[in-house]
Subunit: 192 residues, 2 copies
């Protein structure tokens, strides 16, 4: 099912990539920017498994969600090299696998930075995790913030993508400057 | 065909991950450590294509080589975050896709650092690219060094993996200290 057959509703799969826990969240966003939760979960792989088996588990879990919920677009958190943590390469590999699954299913993909997501959801690029989780719950009218945090982050990514609109979706490798971002947000009235 | 049916010959697919050029090289290595070239090439993706389509192209090219040549093991270059180049995240994503293809085909995978590869091939961890290319040509009895460099690097990775032996293959996320590495090399007489 495509967005056109859902009468203007855009279905977005957000993915917070990770090897141990990969957050996946699907939302339907209407033209008036209101949103409904479709699916939320976490794809896991065993930390003591071989890296090739961990990535296969992540790919399998994401494919199941894609095949079950048929998103119109996939939004993946952009990973940066400057965080010189041991886990950053695993996170980058998981993000590659997430983007690959989209590409193989012919679904367009986009990446967004954590501060783009925070700014879109809370209006504040340095918001903390709990603020983001609370806003996600409010936007989707949930009784409690989704947990674990990876699942909430995946929903935030999906909402961010739908709200930022097509203009920000194209260059997966590119980035808007903070000024461009503020301008685009002001233009679309996203600041809240 | 497995290594056992090739009477002790180990067939290794080496992969030098990259988005624009991903080197792939297959070698057969006999128990006496002599080696034969089976396949060498480069899988490419268009720099102006969307990231999800580029990763799908890389995965498709690697799958073709795996299905055609049925390697016993896949060796992938280990990518480090400290090289804070713009391309490093794309390289990490391509390496994730390469490892995923191995995992999905049930083929064990391993990663090796560039200096492990250089040390195994030339006896010197800081060898330059031309020294590695020249040694690869000599080991495989080729008339000329394989080009481009990504293809030669993939062959060097495959040879390195076969020569370093099973002990170094297991922990794709782990790393030997330089002292452990020197000891392991000395023990197996790899220095040349």
């Amino acid at each position: 099912m495509t967005s056109s057959s859902r009468s203007g509703i855009q279905r977005v799969l957000g993915i917070d990539p990770g090897l141990t826990r990969c957050g996946v969240g699907v939302v339907d966003v209407r033209p008036d920017r209101s949103a409904t939760l479709v699916h939320v979960g976490v794809v896991r792989s065993a930390p003591d498994a071989a890296i090739e088996d961990r990535l296969a588990a992540i790919a399998g879990g994401i494919r199941s969600v894609v095949d079950l919920h048929a998103p119109d677009v996939v939004a993946v958190e952009r990973v940066f090299a400057q965080h010189n943590r041991r886990s950053v390469m695993g996170t980058a590999q998981a993000s590659g696998v997430a983007l690959l699954v989209a590409g193989e299913r012919g679904i367009p993909a986009a990446t967004h930075t954590p501060s783009e997501v925070k700014a879109a959801i809370t209006g504040y690029g340095s918001a903390d995790k709990r603020q983001v989780q609370a806003m996600v719950a409010r936007i989707l009218r949930l009784d409690a913030p989704p947990s674990p945090a990876d699942a909430a982050d995946a929903l935030a990514l999906a909402l961010c993508h739908a709200w930022r609109g097509r203009s920000a979706a194209a260059p997966a490798g590119g980035a808007l400057t903070p000024a461009q971002l503020a301008w685009a947000r002001a233009e679309r009235g996203v600041a809240r």
